[in-house]
């Protein structure tokens, strides 16, 4: 675990140069949502997405320094190296979500004091669902991108990721088209009831499952990799 701590420290130190940019992005998002009442609940999604994407740049730092071989000379193994990246990504998303929620409440409170008309009655359940949905979205992207990076490298992996995301969107659009084309009706009311009852738990389980599968694929790719 100590080696993982060292590797996390290495990545966080690399990311230190993003500190200012991240603060500016968060401040911009907070100000933007302060003047767009309807956007305020989306703040956690935006913040966790920004943080989730920034941590992926640690792969670029490693790639530019060709750090892989040096890191593998440490008292560690490939699985631990992969695990560290997932810990970093998941922690940054969770932290982003928490910062986003706190910021939402804070911005709402400040704006309410400045202009009482601004007040948004925050539904904490829906705020939680929105935050988790955002985290689910970014997890989906990262669950695809991280194995792609291990397979093709940080630069090429990004291109492959866009192709994969395009394919996913195409498949979903195709499925929707087929449903409507063949008049396959969906009982939206039942679906909504089902989602409001079990949506949160499904979201959490699916997010964890995606990360787990992605981690396993990354381990497999990285363990087989030899340059």
């Amino acid at each position: 675990m100590s080696v993982i701590k060292g590797l996390l420290k290495k990545d966080l130190l690399n990311l230190a140069s993003y500190k200012q940019s991240l603060l500016i992005i968060i401040a911009f998002l907070a100000i933007f949502s302060a003047f767009n009442k309807g956007m305020i609940q989306f703040l956690p999604i935006a913040v966790s997405t920004a943080m989730g994407m920034i941590v992926l740049s640690t792969f670029n730092y490693d790639e530019i320094a060709k750090a892989d071989n040096f890191i593998l000379s440490f008292p560690t193994n490939r699985k631990e190296v992969v695990k560290e990246k997932y810990i970093l990504v998941v922690s940054s998303m969770i932290l982003g979500g928490i910062i986003g929620v706190i910021l939402t409440i804070l911005v709402n409170y400040i704006m309410m004091n400045i202009n009482p008309e601004f007040q948004v009655v925050i539904d904490y359940h829906s705020l939680l669902v929105t935050t988790l949905s955002g985290m689910f979205g970014i997890t989906l992207v990262e669950a695809i991108q991280i194995p792609s990076i291990y397979k093709w490298g940080a630069e090429k992996g990004r291109v492959q990721m866009f192709i994969l995301i395009f394919l996913i969107v195409a498949i979903i659009t195709g499925a929707v088209f087929l449903f409507s084309h063949f008049n396959i009706g969906l009982d939206l009311d039942s679906l909504n009831t089902f989602l409001s009852n079990y949506g949160l738990i499904i979201l959490i389980i699916t997010t964890i499952f995606m990360l787990y599968i992605s981690y396993k694929i990354s381990c497999k790719i990285y363990c087989k990799k030899s340059d």
């Binding site: 100590s2 080696v3 701590k5 060292g6 590797l7 420290k9 290495k10 130190l13 690399n14 140069s17 730092y61 490693d62 530019i64 320094a65 060709k66 750090a67 892989d68 071989n69 040096f70 890191i71 593998l72 000379s73 440490f74 008292p75 560690t76 193994n77 030899s226």
Partner: protein, 251 residues
């Protein structure tokens, strides 16, 4: 020591279990695949083309490495930085090539490893810095005689100054594995005419080179050769000459 692109780095990667090796590698009597972490705690590594991000400082390196190695010695690391005149709060990207290499060496030695594995530690450096770095390695060995350095280089003159043993690898096969002193003392190059050359037994020399006016042959034991062929004159070869005869000479 090896011909370019013929497996020096592959050998090192196999030792470090970065790539799979068919035969398996044992270090300190233990299989690297079974006791990887334990073995790597005792190894310090300098790789020519791989290190941590250049956006880190030496201070950052210390902060990272103290969690990586159980035996990491902060004081030792900063002492090395002082000895090598390296700033601790400047980003590595602003270092010269020599400074970068010295930082890699300080990082590799600060946890007092039993073995230092060095891949091309002096390539691309000017002779003054190269000598400084070789001095560092000498000092490291002198501190504790149980320590060992495995150095992979194509700068053969470095080997004459530092190596106790030399392994010459060609196309993945070991051509020879000998003591440096034995090589430099015993090997000889004989320059001779075609007529004289034809009188030599094939088993008395390793290989030969046909020049415009004369033949040059590499012999494994110049004394023995001189005793057998009284009129022959032998020169003392350097490691590079020997390597070239082995790899490029006619058999």
């Amino acid at each position: 020591m090896e011909k370019m692109e013929h497996g020096k780095t592959t050998t090192i990667k196999s030792i470090l279990n970065i790539i799979n090796s068919d035969g398996g590698v044992k270090i300190f009597g233990k299989d690297i695949r079974k006791s990887e972490k334990e073995i790597k705690e005792e190894i310090g590594v300098v790789l020519d083309d791989s290190f941590l991000s250049e956006y880190l400082t030496a201070k950052n390196i210390n902060s990272v490495m103290k969690d990586i190695y159980k035996n990491w010695n902060r004081e030792k690391f900063f002492n090395y930085l002082k000895t090598f005149n390296l700033p601790d709060n400047k980003m590595i990207k602003d270092f010269s090539s020599g400074m970068k290499m010295k930082l890699k060496i300080a990082t590799a030695m600060a946890h007092s490893p039993k073995i230092l594995i060095l891949d091309e530690p002096t390539s691309g450096l000017d002779p003054v810095v190269r000598n400084e770095i070789l001095d560092i390695f000498r000092g490291y060995i002198e501190e504790d005689e149980k320590r060992a350095i495995l150095i992979s280089t194509h700068i053969t003159s470095d080997l004459e100054h530092i190596a106790d043993y030399i392994i010459l690898i060609d196309n993945g096969s070991v051509v020879f594995y000998k003591e440096t002193e034995e090589i430099l003392e015993n090997y000889g190059i004989v320059k001779t005419s075609k007529e004289e050359f034809e009188k030599f037994d094939r088993s008395d020399y390793i290989s030969y080179k046909k020049g415009k006016y004369q033949y040059e042959i590499l012999v494994e034991n110049k004394e023995r050769f001189r005793n057998k062929y009284r009129n022959s004159i032998t020169d003392k070869p350097n490691i590079e000459d020997i390597m070239l005869f082995y790899l490029k000479g006619d058999k």
